[in-house]
């Protein structure tokens, strides 16, 4: 198969960028999107040009490293990560636009590579359960109903890729934050810190410059892990409760 690519090239975080045209020729239909870029890059290297930089690692849809906006959609059409997109989903001769994830809080590092460390800082602001290694009780001492465990797992499945924020017209990271808040808050082990957690993470999210949620739900549509947007509503409730109880604690 052959494709016309329009690829965002940007030297570094300080420079401007623009789309450049490349031809992808003789691409097997079984190739993945990233393998198609590999082929293009090998050609560029041999011609003495700079290959296109893009993030990737596991190439099996779980590490969350790959992060391309393809024809305007984070990770491209259909559910799944960029690395799990296969060229057979395109038609021969297609023109394909390839850009980085566009989020204010994810500055471009080079070409298609962005800096998502804001997500790590949000997790550091409360996305954990404080427990000391070696101090745990037997794992079966606290039963957790299957439904609760399964629902927590739905939220925990987040791969931290940032597509949610990239798809959101406001650049909001609500689904990412709500996933972690939901996962830990549903489990008995996570309840003692639930209030602190949601307050800390939401404050950090605002601080990092992510936008607000105005219920577009584009995030859910692109989430490769299928984290349900219902967790956002749940987090809003948790947050309201936590803010109230915080105010009460402060005056008590």
């Amino acid at each position: 198969m052959n494709f016309h690519l329009k690829v965002w090239r940007q030297e570094n975080g300080q420079s401007g960028g623009q789309f450049r045209d490349y031809e992808a020729r003789d691409i097997p239909a079984e190739a993945s999107f990233l393998e198609m870029l590999d082929i293009v890059n090998e050609g560029l290297v041999l011609r003495g040009e700079e290959p296109v930089a893009f993030d990737h690692d596991c190439r099996e849809g779980i590490c969350g490293m790959c992060s391309l906006t393809i024809n305007g959609i984070p990770h491209g059409k259909g559910r799944g990560t960029t690395c799990q997109l296969y060229m057979r989903k395109f038609s021969d001769g297609d023109t394909i636009y390839i850009e980085p994830f566009r989020v204010g809080a994810f500055p471009v590092v080079k070409d298609l590579v962005v800096n998502r460390t804001a997500f790590d800082r949000i997790i550091s602001a409360g996305g954990f359960i404080s427990e000391r290694c070696g101090a745990a009780q037997d794992a079966n001492d606290t039963p957790i109903g299957k439904t609760v465990a399964d629902y927590a797992m739905d939220a925990a499945a987040c791969i931290g890729c940032g597509a949610c924020a990239a798809a959101c017209p406001n650049g909001s990271a609500m689904l990412f934050v709500a996933g972690k808040v939901g996962h830990l808050g549903l489990l008995p082990q996570g309840k003692p810190e639930a209030g602190r957690r949601v307050r800390g993470m939401v404050a950090k999210m605002d601080d990092e410059g992510f936008g607000n949620c105005s219920n577009f739900y584009e995030c859910e549509a692109v989430c490769p892990a299928g984290v349900p947007a219902a967790f956002i509503a749940k987090m809003n409730r948790d947050y309201a409760m936590a803010s109230v109880s915080n105010a009460v604690e402060a005056t008590a």
Binding site: E42, C58, F119, D120, I123, T142, L187, Q189
Partner: protein, 641 residues
Amino acid sequence: MSKPILDAKIPPGPLAHKWTSYKATSKLVNPANKRRYEIIVVGSGLAGGSAAAVFGEQGYNVKCFCYQDSPRRAHSIAAQGGINAAKNYQNDGDSVARLFHDTIKGGDFRSREANVYRLAEVSNSIIDQCVAQGVPFAREYGGMLANRSFGGAQVSRTFYARGQTGQQLLLGVYSELSRQIAAGTVKMHPRTEMLDLVIVDGHAKGIVVRDMVTGEIASHAADAVVLATGGYGNAFYLSTNAAGCNVTATYRAYRRGALFANPCYTQIHPTCIPVSGSYQSKLTLMSESLRNDGRVWVPKKKEDCGKNPADIPEEARDYYLERKYPSYGNLAPRDISSRSAKEVCDEGRGVGPGGLGVYMDFSDAINRLGEATIRERYGNLFEMYENITGENAYKTPMRIFPAVHYTMGGLWVDYGLMSNVPGLFVIGEANFSDHGANRLGASALMQGLADGYFVLPYTIGNYLAPLRGTRPDVGRPEFKQTEAEVRDRIQRLLSVKGDRTVDSFHREIGLLLWDACGMARTKEGLEKAIKRFDEIREEFWKNVRVAGDNEELNQSLEKAGRVADFIDFGQLMCRDALNRNESCGGHFRSEYQTPEGEAQRNDDDYFYVAAWQHTGDGNVPEMIKEPLHYETVQLATRSYK
């Protein structure tokens, strides 16, 4: 002069008491003194992430490094199937002793007894720890933890979180790490690649790294260095590893004097999606857990191989694992299942493109349990399979083929997980210690977390306590010298400007290793490959083309450094395989097999760990033995029949 023999420093006393007595007599660092120490942890996977988090929690100052943009993306994330522990929650006869025995036997009696026993012993604490930090393991309706079975065991001891166990365990580790980062005890350095180890007065005292965004080369000093950099399966180019998985950190340490143990022990996983073309960059694993419900078969007759599987009647199918290994059946261990798949394909009975595939069929399980149950157990795997191959495995059997997956070999460590270089510790897949010649499924996650959470935090004190925080400064000549060497190597890579891409070299050595040092190895093939590596190395340094400069994000340069190390290391793998004139676990030398085609060990001559010492680039390394001693286990022919 007789060659030195390695001492693993295994504590005295009966096997079951060794770890307890070790802990009781280890040196402690006073809590107030811990903050005077600095520990470098390279790697943020299950092993490195957990070690860094616990060190931080204990009060040490930690610097943690990873090459991804976030510690949460270490390749541990990709583990699907599960993690073992001897909880015996299923009341099916499991115990620490049984887990220990299964692991030793699974490793084909080539691992160290004391290490494996300790691993089994701490396995239960891992599950407790993970649940406490919020890992959403699968549960039964009553709220208790659920289990599944993995290869090489007749009990159900594997804990799992859908098909994403590694992800959930790593996110647990990452949350602990994030807590310590917030507390200021751990400083995280993502997108930073370790390119060399710094030795001062014979001790490991720091590393030289490259900032992968700016290209800056910098040194970091510490009281101790921990390598948790994962496995070297990418030496084969095609593997289930992530694109960035590399041998650079451990190979550079080897060049600085650390011994590399059993590099030829590699695991070829039986159930991966088959190769479809030369453009392919990776192979995708289909979790071994599928073998709980999938039945593996090929047509009995070659002529049937091209047919639609639905048109091949039951009596014309050869369920070869069930036939050859009736007591373990489809759950025979990985090395055996992989070799069996190779055999039937060599006989011309393989299916799919090139005849390099076998069927894994779920129709019986779907008939018995219903599609919904199968979907709940493995939904994401079926989805992944369909996405990659375009086939629906609920309707037609999956096609699978073995692929390189895990490396049992690694840097040599003693019982305390310290290498022969004082101050250099090695944990997780990067070390060699627990899996012998073959690893059982669900045991790598267990080992990574055992090392990081429950072993190293105890053993490192023995090294650190006497030092009292007297680490050298990065201004010392040893650091400057190592930095200069790193810069020089980068310049050499950039200045070749030849006409072959880095990937083309990587593909070439991958194929070479797969043929000569893959599922079946011969003296002749290995000797040829060893020679060939010399030629490839020469061509690489004359003709490789690396784009761009050092002072920028340069993926071509990153890859070039890794591939250069794989070339040197691949040759070492072949040397080790050539030395071992026996078959054991994942190391199958065609000359050494039983009349039934099973691996034939030679305990008289090869009951040892082969640890290789670097003797200069381009020179033949020296092999140092660590003889194995078993106190409780009887050496036996491994049988799963």
